[in-house]
């Protein structure tokens, strides 16, 4: 089991895509089983026993597991009963617990990942590449995954996996390769290194930490949710609750972190607070005014800043110039417009200011947002939202997919604003970030807030058990059943 580590954008995925034939190297050779090969397409790689589980799952939601697995490999066992039998066989052999006739859209993240692994095994792969397989899993699921992987290793398969999480890398990998800016900087074995040294190799300097020391929490309540309920109707016409009886409050100067496995209602919670979805019941109060049913624009004007989870879908107009992106979301506010009219000159000037102040690396403000790198796009968004001095900032995965330097800057900006009385709702899959930045932690599971915790004392493992529904209540109190000990 070989681990590949490196900071965001180091080129790990790119390297793996080359190995899997999805991209072609400009120079250099690849050898499989000692023989040099030229991989022109995934089909080439597959035929040589290389299989890959991508960072973003490659599954068709509207297909069954069976269809997803046999796609592209119909020659092996057809697309019917024989294939189904083979899937069951593999699933049982490695304890994957995959049901072939379920729709993929009905599966959770961990199950989807197992489908991905099964897809690779079904094709008889001998080399298994996993790109950041643990990023979206809770610690317990990670353990289960590694157990599966060890089984595979025992069968003689080669496993190559990518991760940022140095702890898990050190615990399971047999070899580690560190890459930085597209080149290998070190090859180490776990026994001869420790997380600190590995981190320094990765970044070239010390890793930043999201730790916040002094508390700035005040008594003034900024956001309050009471009994918020949101239902959605699925294709069958069945109504179900995606948010159920949500109650929370965030005070000025407080960062409230929400932990949860993706798809448990965090996105809907954000959308309800932003006004993109109208709650069926309950109230949302911002700074003393009821905004339960106010339109999104009103809420933004009233001082909610929003760093969306998916910046390409919700944060930017990719083909518009930077200054128009600076206007986005604040078109009714100064300096972007006056009366009903835009003020492009002022917006441009202010964009220049943001670019300078937030260190957005760009040659100018007339280039399209699409031509910036992800980290710089994110800095622009943060700068834009902060420029309007929000009372409440909703930050969903604010550092997802940005490099370490940008990450540190964004953390700094959140901390600074918090000191000045900003209330922050933080949602993140990165439990270290969540624990490090938050003043209070809540855990979301199946549309409900099931547990809370004190970030000063909680560990990622404890949070993880609550995220899978195994624990609830106040996780810190010894009186309540909690998973694992505290440190």
């Amino acid at each position: 089991m070989h681990a590949l580590v490196g900071e965001n954008g180091a080129g790990k995925s790119t390297l793996m895509k080359i190995l899997y034939g999805m991209q072609r190297p400009d120079e250099g050779t690849i050898a499989i089983d000692g023989a040099p090969v030229a991989l022109h397409s995934p089909a080439d790689a597959i035929s040589r026993g290389v299989g890959m589980v991508h960072q973003h799952f490659m599954l068709a939601d509207n297909f069954t597991v069976l269809e997803n697995v046999v796609l592209g490999a119909e020659k092996l066992h057809g697309i019917g009963g024989k294939a189904r039998a083979r899937i069951k066989e593999i699933s049982d052999a490695y304890g994957l617990g995959v049901r072939p006739d379920v729709m993929v859209e009905d599966l959770g993240v961990a199950d989807r990942q197992r489908v991905e692994i099964l897809k690779v095994l079904y094709r008889g792969a001998r080399t298994l590449i996993l790109d950041e397989p643990t990023a979206v899993l809770v610690p317990q699921e990670v353990d289960a995954l590694f157990a599966n992987l060890r089984d595979l290793k025992a069968e003689g398969l080669t496993v190559l996996f990518i991760s940022h999480k140095l702890g898990e890398v050190l615990s399971v990998a047999d070899d580690i390769t560190v890459i930085r800016r597209g080149t290998t900087v070190a090859s180490v074995v776990p026994s001869e290194t420790d997380p600190r040294r590995l981190a320094e190799l990765m970044v070239g300097s010390e890793l930043p930490s999201p730790e916040t020391r002094e508390s700035t929490v005040t008594d003034t309540e900024m956001l309050r949710l009471d009994g918020v309920r949101l239902t959605a109707t699925d294709v069958d016409g069945v109504e179900r609750a995606v948010l159920d009886d949500i109650a929370l409050r965030i005070r000025k100067g407080e960062v409230l972190g929400i932990a949860g496995v993706e798809g448990n209602g965090q996105a809907e919670l954000v959308e309800a607070i932003m006004g993109m979805r109208d709650p069926d019941a309950g109230t949302i109060t911002l700074d003393g005014t009821d905004i339960s049913h106010a339109p999104t624009r009103k809420r933004r004007e009233d001082g909610i800043g929003y760093i969306p989870e998916d910046r390409h879908r919700h944060g930017l107009l990719l083909e518009a110039p930077l200054w128009e992106n600076r206007v986005l979301g604040h078109v009714t506010e100064a300096p972007n417009s006056k009366g009903g009219l835009l003020n492009p000159a002022a917006a441009r000037r202010d964009t220049q200011r943001i670019v300078a102040a937030y260190d957005v690396r760009t040659p100018g403000i007339e280039v399209t947002a699409a031509s910036l790198s992800g980290g710089n796009q994110q800095k622009l968004i943060v700068g834009r939202e902060m420029s309007h001095h929000p009372k409440l900032l909703i930050a969903a995965h604010p550092t997802r997919g940005v490099d370490v330097g940008a990450q540190a800057q964004i953390w700094d900006q959140i901390r600074t604003a918090r000191r000045e009385g900003l209330a922050v709702l933080l949602i993140s899959a990165d439990l270290d970030e969540l624990i490090g930045l938050s003043d209070t932690l809540r855990v979301m599971y199946r549309g409900r807030l099931v547990a809370d915790a004190d970030p000063a004392t909680i560990t990622p493992e404890e949070l993880g058990s609550a995220m899978t529904g195994a624990a609830s209540g106040h996780l810190e109190s010894p009186a309540v059943e909690t998973a694992g000990g505290e440190d």
């Binding site: 899997y20 592209g72 697309i79 448990n264």
Partner: protein, 430 residues
């Protein structure tokens, strides 16, 4: 609960349930049966003067005409289905149908109609190929490319008709019309057809309606109609039961995933769009060689678009599409053949259906929606009672209104292929 098998994406409850938006065959049959019974009851209730208008609703002639009007729409829709299942919206169906009518008749009058069929399919397929080049290779917006193809097909056929058909005026050609093409064979099931006709003419409660319905399906059916029905079945088989179909559909759901599994997405998209054009071309041929015997400028009359609507109505499935096409063909044939009196009778039937819908909605506690349907039903009944026919110059609106109504009722439950109408570039997926 175990540590792993838990959270579900977007659906915290009821995991493992298949989306059941598609209607089963049994449900469809049940609806048809219910409508027939309702019709029989209504006819019994209506006075003798109105009875013949009601009889037209299920006469074998009406059903036969409905079928022949439904087939071209269905074929266009089937073309749309192929393309959209592979993720390409094809609004150029209209243009591809035009190519089908033109080349079908052009080759047909020179040799025999079956050569015409082949030429028309090829003509449509070439249109599909152009669409594939524009959308798949060059990445042009699908709808824009489709609109451009419609303009081009219209221009090109008008030009070619002028060049090729005008000199043939002594055998019936003109700049807008081709010479006559021989008939394509049509079949009548011997015995059965006559027997059913006899039963139908007795006007027995329910039995005659059924006889009319079946009679229309076994009398004077064109060979091309049979081919079309086979194509529907074949499409279902190919797209849902073969690995080719699985790959093709995967390009419409998640092309990046398909690409990562070694599927040549461009190839499948090309195949789908070319087949799509061929099917639309066949629809055009049907118009030119079965419904008429000539190419006639403007013959398609927007059926490509209506086919697309039928496909949406059918939720991107052949069965649903057939129903959608049937519905349009039926209402068009009804207004065309029988005019105001029968459309007037139809009002009562629709009112009846709306009343049922209202009841269902009220039962489900959707009071506003229920009240709307109920109100509409009452208005229709009033309209029916206060008049005794629908003005003949308004009757042609029937199929369009029916389509709008049905789309309005059905559209929200639809689920299109996920990657439909999305640009796809090889190697650029995330």
């Amino acid at each position: 609960m175990s540590a792993t098998a838990t959270a579900t994406k977007d659906t915290p409850t009821a995991p493992g349930k298949k989306p059941g938006s598609r209607m089963s065959v049994a449900t469809v049959l049940l609806i048809v049966a219910g409508a027939l019974v309702a019709l029989s009851v209504l006819r019994a209730l209506a006075g003798a003067t109105q009875a013949s208008a009601f009889e037209n609703i299920t006469s074998s002639g009406q059903i036969g005409a409905a079928l022949s009007m439904a087939v071209p729409i269905g074929l266009a829709g089937l073309g749309g289905l192929w393309a959209e299942r592979a993720g390409v919206v094809n609004i150029g169906l209209e243009g591809m149908m035009i190519l089908g009518t033109f080349f079908g008749a052009w080759a047909g009058y020179q040799s025999n109609p079956w050569v015409g069929v082949l030429a028309g399919v090829l003509g449509g397929a070439v249109g599909g190929l152009v669409h594939a080049v524009a959308t798949v290779t060059f990445g042009v917006d699908h709808i824009i490319s489709g609109v451009a193809i419609n303009i081009l097909a219209l221009g090109a056929t008008a030009y070619l008709a002028k060049r090729w058909f005008e000199p043939l005026s002594d055998i019936g050609g003109s700049p807008k019309q081709s010479p006559q093409v021989d008939d394509i064979a049509s079949f009548t099931v011997p015995g059965l057809s006559d027997g059913l006709a006899t039963v139908e003419n007795h006007h027995w409660f329910l039995v005659s309606d059924l006889a009319g319905l079946l009679g229309g399906l076994v009398t004077d059916i064109s060979a091309l109609t049979i081919v079309s029905i086979l194509l529907f079945a074949g499409t279902f088989f190919v797209l849902w039961k073969t690995s080719f179909g699985l790959r093709l559909r995967s390009c419409g759901e998640n092309p990046t995933a398909a690409e990562s599994l070694g599927v040549n997405v461009y190839l499948y998209k090309y195949a789908a769009v070319v087949v799509s054009g061929g099917l639309a071309g066949l629809g055009g041929v049907f118009l030119a060689l079965v419904r008429s015997h000539i190419y006639n400028e403007g013959q398609t009359g927007g059926r490509g678009y209506i086919g697309l609507a039928a496909m949406l109505f059918g939720n991107w499935r052949p069965g649903g599409l057939a129903m959608g096409a049937g519905l349009f063909g039926y209402s068009d044939a009804l207004q065309l053949r029988n005019g105001g009196a029968t459309v007037h009778a139809l009002l009562l039937l629709v009112a009846f259906g709306l009343a049922l819908l209202a009841g269902r909605r009220l039962y489900r506690k959707r009071y506003v929606a229920g009240a709307v349907s109920g109100g509409a039903a009452i208005l229709l009944v009033l309209w029916y009672a206060l008049t005794d026919t629908v003005a003949n110059d308004l009757v042609p609106a029937t199929p369009y209104i029916v389509t709008l109504l049905v789309m309005g009722l059905a559209a929200q439950r639809l689920r299109m292929p996920k990657a439909n109408n999305k640009p796809y570039r090889k190697g650029q997926g995330t």
